[in-house]
């Protein structure tokens, strides 16, 4: 059954269709949630909230492509993960001059293994990691990031710049 078929079933509120949709995207959703939260229990909660919200809202969307649906769902999971973080603590937006001298070289990322990248992402200060994941991986705009995190767009931009440079330094080591 294609994702489009499942979308149609979910739009009709079909419970079996919803279960199949959940089975198809649950693992990926957990990975997205873990990228933000790094706590398995909270990540599970984000997945639950994300799917619940997605099934509630899916009727409003009538022109989903398979990829469009996936990125929409992952954005919801990311959003719910951020809400959970914000409910529990204040995010500190670190800014350091240490990273400013580095110039961006995309080859560094290309050469690094997936494990090394995941490990380096885990070492980034939280604000850097959140903004970099939201912007570069999930495709949020700076305005969306600013709204979701409750920060200025300029802070989102500066966190992104710092994050890229810091990640590059970590990957070069």
């Amino acid at each position: 059954m294609t994702t489009s078929d499942l979308i149609q079933l979910c739009q009709k509120g079909d419970s079996r269709g919803q279960r199949k949709m959940f089975d198809r995207f649950a693992d990926q959703s957990l990975n997205v949630a873990m990228r933000y939260i790094r706590d398995i229990d909270l990540a599970n909660e984000a997945v639950i909230r994300g799917f619940t919200k997605a099934f509630k809202s899916i009727k409003k969307y009538t022109h989903f492509s398979d990829n469009g649906f996936k990125s929409w769902l992952m954005k919801i999971i990311a959003n719910e993960s951020l809400m959970l973080i914000r409910e529990r603590k204040t995010i500190i937006y670190h800014e350091s001059n240490e990273e400013l001298d580095a110039s961006i070289d995309s080859e560094v990322v290309d050469r690094a293994s997936v494990d090394h990248i995941n490990q380096a992402m885990g070492l980034l200060p939280e604000g850097y990691r959140l903004v970099l994941s939201m912007y570069a991986v999930e495709g949020f705009s700076h305005k969306e990031i600013a709204d979701l995190l409750g920060i200025a767009e300029s802070t989102s931009r500066s966190q992104l710049t710092y994050a890229r440079k810091k990640l590059q330094i970590l990957l070069s080591k």
């Binding site: 279960r19 959940f22 995309s106 990322v109 997936v114 990248i117 994941s133 570069a136 991986v137």
Partner: protein
């Protein structure tokens, strides 16, 4: 250069997006929670329907009593003042407030009285409280306390709406 950096990062991270996987047991548990919350949304729908039925029932009983007591009341219906009920309003149970708003748009003198305005204020506050409660229910699911509060608020809203409709019709 920064775009390339981001694209490479995105590609690499997406290839690792299935590294963490649920066990069958945990997946079933997580699904049960998702399914449970979905069922709650259906419950929410039925609470709204129940509140609508209560409201309509209340108005019908009042009108029936009014006629039975032999009061001379004449209600004239015309297409000019007909209420344009939207399908969505009927589903959400907001037909009472739609009726009040459409009548007050016609600048009826009753809508300007202090008593009516006070009720209107109460209605707006109650609607806001219901909205906040809905947000809580969406975030935290249905607990017995939330359900009770929801029913109380919907009943209170019905009472206020009923009073206001009666003032308009009198």
């Amino acid at each position: 250069m920064e775009k390339n950096f981001d694209n490479h990062l995105k590609e690499k991270i997406h290839t690792s997006d299935c590294s963490k996987i649920y066990t069958k047991k945990l997946k079933d548990e997580i699904w049960e929670s998702v399914d449970g919350k979905n069922t709650n949304y259906n419950t929410n729908f039925f609470i709204r329907i129940a509140a609508s039925i209560l409201l309509i029932g209340g108005i019908s009983i009042f009108l029936f009593r009014f006629y039975s007591e032999g009061e001379a009341i004449q209600i004239t219906y015309s297409t000019e003042i007909g209420i344009d009920f939207q399908k969505e309003d009927l589903i959400t149970g907001d037909e009472g407030t739609t009726f009040i708003k459409s009548r007050c748009k016609q600048e009826l003198s009753i809508c300007k009285t202090p008593e009516f305005r006070s009720l209107l204020h109460e209605l707006e506050v109650t609607e806001q409280e219901i909205e906040e409660l809905d947000t809580m229910i969406n975030n935290y699911g249905y607990g017995p306390e939330l359900v009770k509060s929801k029913i109380d608020l919907e009943n209170f809203k019905s009472e206020i709406t009923q009073k206001m409709i009666l003032m308009i019709l009198s």
